[in-house]
């Protein structure tokens, strides 16, 4: 049998295997991959990955979440939440970036915390602000009637682009108003205290 040390990798990546059930509070500073089941409360300063066999029935606060399995509960992410084509979720999402891929199913609220449309908006600086990420993520799109995303695979593209983005290191995307970022942080602090 492989030594346990080899399994976890140097960065410390926790894996909850398919037959494992954790019921309670889970917190940490490393990536977590769920193939089994976690119920209760989950808070991480890094990325939560729920694989297709994984079930999370918990209130979640993380930096990033990638859901390919089932999540029932609310997710608050400081960076991003992605539901991949196998992802199923019921609950509310609060995150500056939310990606829902075709095939994913979702019921709940999405709060990306920006100025609601209807009010006067500044010209979108967004695409210029993150050109590297944008270019990597979205292939050129004709201006009218975008193509059906038949051959697209945003999941892996998104994952692989993450290190590049964090290397660029602006902590929050500039277009987000400070009030919202502060609110999101506050909420997580409260959760951790409990």
């Amino acid at each position: 049998m492989a030594s346990p040390k080899e399994l976890s990798g140097p960065a410390g990546n926790t894996v909850i295997g398919p037959s494992i059930l954790i019921n309670g509070k889970l917190s940490g500073d490393e990536d977590l991959t769920v193939r089994g089941r976690v119920e209760g409360e989950l808070s991480l300063t890094r990325t939560l990955i729920v694989e297709p066999s994984g079930v999370v029935k918990a209130n979640v606060s993380v930096k990033n979440a990638v859901v390919s399995g089932v999540v029932v509960g609310n997710i608050a992410a400081t960076e991003s939440v992605e539901l991949t084509r196998d992802g199923r979720m019921v609950g509310d999402i609060r995150s500056p970036r939310v990606i829902i891929v075709d095939g994913a199913s979702f019921r709940g609220r999405v709060d990306m915390g920006e100025l609601p449309p209807g009010r006067p908006l500044p010209e979108r600086p967004r695409t210029q602000v993150r050109p590297a990420v944008r270019a990597a993520l979205t292939p050129a799109r004709p201006p009218v009637l975008p193509p059906r995303p038949a051959g697209r695979a945003p999941g892996p593209a998104f994952v692989s682009s993450r290190p590049a983005e964090s290397a660029k290191a602006p902590p929050a995307p500039p277009p987000a108003p400070p009030t919202v970022a502060a609110g999101a942080k506050k909420k997580i602090v409260v959760k951790k205290k409990r």
């Binding site: 346990p4 954790i22 089994g36």
Partner: protein, 106 residues
Amino acid sequence: MANTVIGSSLIIDGEISGDEDLVIQGTVKGKISLRESLFVEGSGVVEADIETQNVEIAGRVTGNIAATDKVELKSDCRVVGDIKAPRILIADGASFKGNVDMDVKG
């Protein structure tokens, strides 16, 4: 075989159950019940009652341990609690406080 690893920065407060091997490098408080092997590594801290088939402890465990097969306390481990198992190994250098019961019935 799928392996579950609880990484060193992770803290779990609650119950863990399952049918596969579990490696703990982080902190687990509450209860652990497994039908396979549990490994508490050097960095692992467990404050929980443990029910499992095998346990190997190199870290710290506070709580009662019941194993259907074997309990192994490695050197440098610190264990406080009662151990119940048909086979118990305690290495030189291990520190242990508690009762040992090797007469298992059910």
